[in-house]
């Protein structure tokens, strides 16, 4: 059916004014955020003592509630971190429950120094922390039991929430909890050997599954508080536009409308509508007649940007990687050279749960409920908007219906809008809802990119010279992270290329970061979304040209020390024997990529149906160090592949004309449905006892190049422009 879009308003964001505040208030905090990523798995978490009582509550009925210092938004951390703690605690898993932590210093990421989910760091950074919490609590329970029985602690053992002592004595944790709480928290504690794990490394089902199958799980959008009002905001049609005049007479005439007022946004201004119910608020917003002031605003046009980016890519940018001889390419004879140009569109995250935030301003304090990936930032910015200090804002982390980076903004613009509105309604909880149209048109996209690559092949069929130019907006420019841009290079634009593990002797990567009036943001797997596509389609093309098996070719070209990548290619080779035996009309595509310290290789079986790729199956090999919950790792990879298919969807693009976003909803910006995603995905994990690395983002980069590599076999064409409008 045709959606009724008449009267839908646009939105915008306004970052600049607020970012200055943010930078001043939080610069030091945020500097530490980005740095550790490269070395996170090698570094143990900062030696900080965490009070167990902030994380563990053992009730007298034997229930053990574990507080999770992360947002749960699908990645399964609300199960995996409690598993880690419960294992070292020797807790009875059937009695374990888990809840999401409110914003507080103690729940900050041990490496990032901020309470957040991002960079696939939840398990990687909190594994050690949660093990120690479990082990220390166990030691305190044992000490309490040993005291009670007048025996030495080392004469006691624990299992399933019970301490066992000499002479058949035993005591349940629930009986010991009060005594244990009076024991000192040990400074150091022995952790289990891997062979002693009872939960870690075993497939454990999610704790939140039952509530998510019967409708009882509450998400941020489901919040219902006494006296609560609903707010929607009419956002500008062009980013940064301001309200010139507004006629709100019809809107105000609707029963249930409480207020209509102009409000400042991150950039420009908007009109807020507050009503008793969502449907009233939305209808009232549709009735607003707003005249917008677009004076002096850049009105981006993606067709023009493509031409501009393509031109820029023919010139050298800021140097991101350089090794060997820059002139080597020019000495290679023309027949052994390849020139390739790629284009990538803006992408919206479009999590299933539309963006929302609820704030109740109570004068000298406030309460907020936000499905947030950046609790520390969101709490601080809500406080600033209300004239309060962060610790005057009680901040509840609400379950989120997806996020993929969209709920981690450096300007916290959605919670801030809620706070600005709530300030006018003292002692009234205000739930701000962004409609799907607000979300799709609202910016904060994965940036558009152009790549231009010149490759020179050596006599062995391997690339001996590689010159690569990337064009795309910087994610970090204009944010508190801007100081992370080094020599004009934003690492998030070049990750996956500049740091490639392929051994190319003469290798040069540079980047241009144009400024465009479109807000951009990290999108699940960030720069790897486009860089892996470019690298893995080109390497595949070179393998085809050299007539070498694509797995063998990759292994030949990889550096010897790229151990994780070698391990996944070897495992993939073993597990994808099916690829030697394909039905007519089908082809197999290969890709491999390492991101966030997790290596992935995949083989996909593809045919062409109705001029679209049909992905019949995918076999995936993963090296993520120790797989804490293999069932969850499998789940992330099965789903992450389907998520990545968005890049190939015919309508997988956000475009702008005359400054206005042309898509409004899923009818025009269309992620993968069941028919588009792989029909079957088998996931194989390289056995490992190394430190665990993340699995949220690494699945995403591999799928689109693998599918396209299969398509190239079927059609003989190369696919370098996304979205994939036609095969």
């Amino acid at each position: 059916m045709q959606p009724a879009l008449k009267g839908e308003n646009d939105l915008s964001l306004n970052r600049r004014s607020f970012l200055q505040v943010t930078t001043a208030a939080a610069g030091g905090l945020l500097v530490s955020l980005y740095l550790p990523r490269i070395t996170s798995a090698q570094q143990p978490p900062a030696p900080k003592v965490y009070p167990p009582d902030a994380f563990i509550h053992i009730a007298t009925d034997g229930k053990i509630n574990i507080t999770v210092n992360r947002l749960e938004f699908g990645q399964g951390v609300q199960t995996s971190l409690p598993m880690v703690l419960a294992d070292e605690l020797d807790a009875d898993w059937s009695q374990v429950t888990a809840e999401l932590a409110p914003a507080a210093d103690v729940y900050k990421d041990p490496l990032f120094g901020m309470q957040m989910v991002g960079g696939s760091g939840s398990i990687a950074h909190s594994f050690q922390q949660y093990r120690e919490l479990g082990a220390k609590t166990r030691a305190m329970l044992v000490a309490a039991a040993a005291d009670r029985w007048q025996v030495a602690a080392n004469q006691c053992r624990t299992e399933n929430s019970v301490v066992y002592g000499p002479n058949n004595r035993s005591a349940r944790y629930a009986e010991l909890a009060n005594d244990a709480a009076r024991k000192p928290v040990p400074d150091k504690v022995a952790l289990k050997n891997a062979s002693e794990f009872r939960l870690i490394g075993k497939p454990v089902k999610r704790l939140d599954s039952p509530a998510k199958c019967d409708g009882s799980q509450k998400f941020g959008l489901d919040l219902d508080l006494p006296g609560m009002k609903i707010a929607v905001v009419a956002h500008p049609p062009v980013f940064g536009a301001r309200v010139k005049t507004v006629d709100d007479r019809e809107a105000r005439a609707l029963a249930g409308v409480r207020d209509v007022f102009e409000m400042p946004l991150e950039k420009g201004t908007g009109v807020a509508v507050v009503a008793d119910r969502f449907w009233t608020a939305k209808r009232a917003r549709d009735l607003l007649k707003i005249d917008w002031d677009l004076t002096g605003l850049e009105r981006p046009d993606t067709a023009e940007l493509r031409a501009k980016y393509k031109q820029l890519a023919t010139t050298t940018g800021n140097v991101a990687a350089t090794r060997g001889d820059e002139k080597a390419l020019d000495r290679i004879p023309q027949p052994n050279r390849i020139v390739a140009e790629y284009e990538f569109p803006y992408l919206a995250h479009a999590p299933m749960e539309p963006l929302n935030a609820t704030v109740n301003f109570q004068g000298d304090k406030a309460e907020a409920w936000v499905p947030s990936q950046f609790q520390t930032m969101d709490q601080m910015i809500i406080a600033q908007a209300l004239g309060l200090k962060p610790d005057q804002v009680t901040f509840h982390t609400e379950f989120a219906g997806g996020g993929f980076g969209r709920r981690a903004t450096t300007d916290s613009h959605v919670p801030k809008e809620a706070a600005v509105i709530a300030k006018r309604f003292r002692d009234t909880p205000i739930k701000l809802i962004w409609t799907r149209e607000d979300d799709v048109r609202g910016g904060y996209y994965r940036p558009m990119h152009a790549h231009r690559i010149e490759i020179g092949l050596g006599p062995d069929g391997l690339p001996s010279a590689w010159r690569h130019v990337i064009v795309g907006q910087s994610l970090l420019a204009g944010t508190p992270f801007a100081m992370m841009i080094k020599n004009g290079v934003d690492e998030t634009a070049v990750e996956g290329t500049a740091d490639t593990s392929y051994n190319i002797p003469n290798f040069h990567v540079s980047v241009h970061h144009p400024t465009v009036n479109v807000p951009v943001l990290w999108w699940r797997s960030v720069g790897h979304t486009h860089n892996a596509f470019v690298m893995e389609t080109l390497i595949d093309e070179l393998a085809t040209r050299a007539r070498v098996d694509p797995i063998a070719y990759r292994k030949k070209l990889l550096k010897a020390d790229a151990k994780k990548l070698h391990s996944v290619l070897d495992l993939l080779d073993q597990k994808s024997a099916w690829r030697k035996n394909l039905a007519a009309g089908r082809a197999v595509g290969i890709s491999s990529h390492e991101s966030f310290e997790t290596a992935v290789a995949c083989a996909v079986e593809v045919s062409i149906e109705n001029k679209r790729p049909k992905i019949h199956r995918a076999t995936v090999a993963v090296n993520c160090g120790l797989a804490v919950n293999p069932l969850s790792v499998e789940s992330q990879f099965q789903g992450g592949l389907g998520f990545g298919v968005l890049q190939l969807m015919a309508q997988g693009a956000i475009t702008l004309k005359d400054g206005r976003v042309e898509q409004r909803n899923f009818d025009a910006y269309t992620p993968a449905y069941i028919i588009d995603a792989p029909s079957a995905v088998d996931v194989h994990i390289v056995p490992s006892t190394e430190a665990p690395t993340g699995c949220g983002e690494p699945p995403v980069p591999v799928i689109s190049p693998a599918v396209v590599n299969a398509l190239s076999i079927l059609t003989g064409k190369r696919y370098r422009t996304l979205p994939l409008v036609s095969v």
């Binding site: 999610r206 199958c213 409708g215 449907w279 009233t280 298919v645 909803n665 899923f666 449905y673």
Partner: protein, 154 residues
């Protein structure tokens, strides 16, 4: 505003709302049945799927004044139905959910499919589940869970 008497999950409920209000927002805001989700408002994602007289229906585009006396079943009550219970159990057994936001709608669509087609083929599944978007892309396990529920129901 107008008064509507609705048959929701087997009991009669009375609401006083604007006649244009979609059933979704009546369920969520008037009746506090928040298991049914808002995802798009244009019947493009299926997160709002409920059963209206046994038919899987996108509640975000059905105005309340079109419902009449047709019985409505939502995710909160689908477990009382043997097929509904089997689907929920299969979802849990296969550990389908990730963020979980779309899963009420997925389950309501799957129940409607299995009531209609006891032994669905992959093609049946793709057709019946074809309009239910899952941004976490839990589709592989959704397929497995539907087959598992079908098997359990015999």
């Amino acid at each position: 505003m107008a008064t509507f008497h609705l048959n929701i999950n087997g009991s009669e409920k009375t609401v006083d709302v604007d006649p244009s209000t979609p059933l979704l927002w009546v369920l969520r805001e008037e009746l506090k049945l928040t298991g049914t989700k808002y995802g798009c408002g244009i019947s493009a994602c299926g997160a709002c799927t409920v059963h209206v007289a046994g038919i899987a229906t996108r509640s975000c585009v059905v105005p309340v004044d079109l419902i009449g006396d047709r019985p409505i079943v939502t995710i909160e009550a689908i477990g009382k139905d043997p097929v509904g219970r089997a689907v929920q159990n299969a979802w849990i057994e296969k550990d389908v959910v990730q963020c979980g936001y779309c899963q009420s709608g997925q389950i309501m669509s799957a129940v409607a499919l299995l009531k209609d087609t006891k032994k669905p083929t992959d093609k049946n599944i793709e057709e019946s589940m074809g309009g239910n978007l899952c941004r976490c892309a839990t589709y592989v396990r959704i397929r497995e869970a539907i087959k598992r529920a079908s098997q359990q129901l015999g």
